[in-house]
C-alpha cells in the first residue's frame, strides 16, 4: 500500500479516435465546462502551454473537463505516449486520426484557420463558447471559464 501512496499517478495513454469522438464532446450535455485543446508534440507553443491545462485538470473542484486533442499523425502514437509519460500528462488525450482536416475544422469553430495551438471552451448548459487560436497565457483559461459561467 505504501508503494501506491508514494508513486506518482501514471501518465495517460493517448486514445486514437476519429472526428465522431470529438463531435460527441462538442455536443455533450454534461454540466461540466468543456476545455478542448488542440496540440501536437512538434508544436513548441503547444507543448509550452500544456502545464496550464494540466494545472486546471488537477483542480477537481472546478467542475471542468479537459480534453487534449493530439494532432500528431497516428503512426506517431508511440512517440506521443512516450512524450506523455515523460511529461506525466494526467489529462485525457485523444489522438485525432482524421487526416482530411478540411472536413472537420469548421465543425470545431468556423473562425479557426487551422493553426495550433488552439483551445475551445464550451459551457454545455448555456451553449456559450470561446475559441482561442494562439498560445494561452497564465491565468487566461481561468478568465475565459469565468466568463462562460
Amino acid at each position: 500500500m505504501t508503494f501506491c501512496f508514494l508513486s506518482a499517478a501514471t501518465a495517460q495513454k493517448a486514445i486514437v479516435v476519429k472526428f465522431d469522438a470529438l463531435q460527441k464532446i462538442l455536443e455533450t450535455k454534461s454540466d461540466q465546462i468543456q476545455v478542448i485543446n488542440f496540440w501536437a508534440t512538434w508544436c513548441a507553443p503547444c507543448v509550452k502551454e500544456l502545464p496550464l491545462l494540466e494545472k486546471l485538470n488537477a483542480q477537481k473542484d472546478l467542475n471542468t473537463k479537459i480534453t487534449l486533442i493530439n494532432l500528431d499523425y497516428a503512426d506517431k502514437l508511440d512517440k506521443v505516449n512516450e512524450f506523455m509519460a515523460r511529461k506525466n500528462i494526467q489529462s485525457v488525450v485523444l489522438l485525432l486520426d482524421d487526416i482530411d482536416y478540411n472536413s472537420w475544422i469548421d465543425k470545431v469553430d468556423k473562425s479557426w484557420g487551422g493553426a495550433i495551438p488552439a483551445t475551445l471552451i464550451i459551457n454545455p448548459r448555456t451553449g456559450k463558447r470561446k475559441f482561442v487560436e494562439k498560445e494561452l497565457k497564465e491565468g487566461e483559461l481561468e478568465n475565459l471559464i469565468a466568463e462562460l459561467k
Binding site: F38, Y101, N102, I105, G114, A115, I116
Partner: protein, 190 residues
C-alpha cells in the same frame, strides 16, 4: 505598425485583386508579383523551413511548379516567419533549403510580414492561387494543397491542382477555400 496587427485583420477574399509586393529572393535579387507580365496567374505559397507540414509538402510544392509554371501559373514561395521567433527560418536557412531542394522558383523573405498579413495567411504551408485579369492578380483559391498531408499518394482531393486546372480550362473553380491543420505563422512580438 500596431494598427496592422490589432483586431480582425483585413485579408484577401476570393475575387479580390492583390496589391503588388516586392521581396528579396534567395539569390539576393528582389522579386515582384508585377514582374510576372507573361503569366496567367501565380501559385503563392506561404511556407517555411521548420514546420513538419511544410516538410511533408515540400516535394509536392516543387512538383506544382514543374507542372504549372510552363502553363502560366508559376509557384512563388514566401517565408513569413520571424527569424527571431523561429531561428530555422532565417534568410540563410532559406538559401540553404532552396539550394538543397534545387528550387526552380523564388523563395522570398517576407521580413516585415506585411505581405502575409495582407493576404491573411495564418499557417504554413498556406496557398493562394491567383488568376491574372488584365494587370490585376485576383484570388481564385485559398487553402491547403490537398486532403492528405501525410501521404501524397493517398490524397483523394488535390485542391490546388483542381483550381489551377479549372482556371487553365476557363472553368469556375469548384472548391474555392479549404482549411488545414498547420503550424501557425511565427509573428513578430507585437
Amino acid at each position: 505598425m500596431a494598427v496592422l496587427t490589432s483586431g480582425s485583420p483585413l485579408r484577401y477574399e476570393i475575387g479580390d485583386a492583390v496589391a503588388d509586393f516586392k521581396l528579396k529572393n534567395v539569390d539576393g535579387k528582389m522579386v515582384a508579383l508585377s514582374d510576372y507580365t507573361a503569366a496567367k496567374g501565380a501559385i503563392i505559397i506561404f511556407d517555411c523551413n521548420t514546420c513538419p507540414y511544410s516538410r511533408a509538402y515540400n516535394d509536392r510544392i516543387i512538383s506544382l511548379n514543374k507542372k504549372y509554371s510552363e502553363k502560366g501559373f508559376p509557384v512563388i514561395a514566401i517565408n513569413p516567419n520571424d527569424p527571431q521567433m523561429s531561428p530555422g527560418d532565417s534568410y540563410e536557412e532559406n538559401v540553404s533549403r532552396a539550394k538543397e531542394k534545387k528550387y526552380d522558383f523564388p523563395y522570398l523573405m517576407d521580413e516585415s510580414q506585411v505581405v502575409a498579413r495582407s493576404f491573411g495567411a495564418t499557417n504554413t504551408p498556406h496557398v493562394f492561387v491567383l488568376q491574372k485579369n488584365g494587370s490585376d492578380f485576383k484570388v481564385a483559391y485559398i487553402g491547403t494543397i490537398d486532403n492528405n498531408s501525410r501521404d501524397a499518394s493517398s490524397a483523394s482531393k488535390k485542391y490546388v491542382e483542381d483550381a489551377v486546372d479549372a482556371l487553365i480550362a476557363g472553368q469556375p473553380v469548384s472548391t474555392k477555400t479549404t482549411k488545414a491543420i498547420g503550424c501557425g505563422i511565427k509573428w513578430k512580438n507585437s
